[in-house]
Amino acid sequence: MANIENLPFLGFGLGLRPQHYSDILAGGHGVDWFEIISENYMVAGGRALHNLDRVRADHPIVMHGVSMSIASTDPLDMDYLGVLKALAARIEPAWISDHLCWTGVHGINLHDLLPVPFTREALDHVVERISRVQDFLGRRIAIENASSYVSFSGSEMEEWEFVAEMTRRADCLLLVDVNNVYVASFNHGFDPAAYLAAMPADRVVQMHLAGHEHRGTHIVDTHDDEVSGPVWDLYREAVRRFGAVSTMIERDDRIPPLSELIAELGIARRIAGEVLGTGTREAAA
């Protein structure tokens, strides 16, 4: 299914991590595209930006932020958004994303993706802010579902209802993190397939896959391990729902050699190929 903006199917990608710069720049790795953590490149100069320019010369890039704090009740940080916009002008990403979360209030940044109560008030607030950010950046942004460990007693709707309504009203795009859906479904006791079924498929431009740590009574989204079996199963379901959507593996800790991540990415290619037929496995030129 084509997304609403006809954004390209980029194929199968990885998070761009400094440990892999030299292997990536050597070429021949077969990774179709890369995602950057936007904040890591919001610097004045130096090696990181230089390497990013070099990777960008040969690959599509998408920008993924962790500090937009879209659900915070602090004012939007226009300085941050200005730097983000300038980076986008330099990199020309396929799209820009951030998370459905807040990262702090009263001027403090806790550097974590904190959970949102699924209330009508929070929905109105988030919708209004996404709209303002999109107006400022001059483009739709993709919002990612975050992992969460707590539910709020004040929530008035389910997470998937909140996300679907947010997407419709803010006219934004979606980055579906399949691992996060699974983690939240286990932690809060809901059916992850029902979550996926509630997502507006024409808004989904990207999917994330990642590893987590199972602690028996709850799961923590650690990004430090291989994608788990249940998450691969859910990915298969997501491909059935959303079709050929740009997919990548996120690894932020205990980062293995690039070759290991490429091998793991092969599992995503295989699953997507099995669901969609081999003709859709390769990225659009």
Binding site: E39, N40, V43, G46, V105, H111, D112, L114, P117, G189
Partner: protein, 262 residues
């Protein structure tokens, strides 16, 4: 914004930053786990992530202090300096000043200076890109203008004056050797220059006369007055030659991005 949402976010943040439990009343137990444990995931992650970020930015200070002492320092710093930055990259900026002003660390000045070295290297690493001039630039200058030349240094360049042997400690840890006992710098303060050459941060000790010239040149003093200043601390007739050698060294090291005639 005053609302149920802002009040909830304030309680949640207080739960992480100040250790308050008020927010637990807003949270429900999950099917398998109590709310204290679930909220504890956020509590743990908050401190762990920020202290880990410090350990990356101040790797050699961490090695010098040892894991447990560094962890204690990190938590004390976090308690006083919660991040106000969009990127975690800047969170540790005030650590050198914190070490200098807080016991027990302030009693060991090599700690603050070791941190200052690491911070200067980090700052040089992602400072704005300069376009260094080569030595040949000097040959294009009319000799009649020499005394009126001013120099603009690469935006990555910064100077430190160390009162201890922190540079030797820094060096030893980087080479995986036992660091020397902390001590006062020999022969007065040690003058350091930190800059980025290409994409690599570098550091070197400067002779006192070069450091004096560098500091004054960075303030905009022209070559002629620099020579006069140098003549007050050495044989006057040798001063212009020494100054020229120093300036040529700056150009060769890629430290100079502009030469102007004033």
């Amino acid at each position: 914004m005053s609302s149920a949402l802002s009040a909830l976010q304030a309680r949640f943040q207080d739960g992480l930053v100040a250790g308050r439990d008020d927010v637990l009343a807003d949270i429900v137990d999950s099917p398998r786990e109590g709310r204290e444990t679930l909220f504890g995931v956020y509590r743990h992650a908050y401190a762990a992530r920020l202290v880990e970020s410090l350990s990356h930015d101040y790797e050699r200070l961490g090695a010098y202090l040892g894991g447990e002492r560094f962890e204690k320092l990190g938590h004390a710093y976090l308690a006083e300096h919660p991040s106000v930055f969009r990127s975690i990259r800047w969170f540790g900026d005030e650590l050198p000043a914190f070490l200098q002003s807080h016991a027990p660390w302030s009693a060991s000045p090599e700690l603050f200076e070791l941190a200052a070295i690491e911070r200067a290297l980090n700052d040089a690493f992602d400072a704005p890109d300069g376009s260094p001039l080569g030595l040949a630039t000097l040959s294009e200058v009319d000799p009649a203008d020499f005394s009126r030349l001013t120099f603009t240094f690469d935006p990555s360049a910064r100077r430190l004056d160390l009162m201890t042997n922190a540079r030797l400690v820094w060096l030893a840890i980087g080479e995986d050797r036992e660091p020397p006992e902390a001590a006062a710098a020999e022969d007065g303060p040690e003058r350091l220059l930190v800059w980025r050459a290409g994409y690599t941060s570098k550091l070197r000790a400067m002779p006192a006369d070069e450091a004096m010239l560098y500091d004054e040149a960075a303030n905009g003093l022209a070559f002629g007055p620099l020579c006069e200043m140098l003549a007050t601390v050495m044989e006057p007739e040798a001063a212009p030659g020494r100054a020229a050698t120093i300036v040529a060294g700056w150009l060769e090291a890629g430290l100079v991005v502009a030469i102007d005639v004033v």
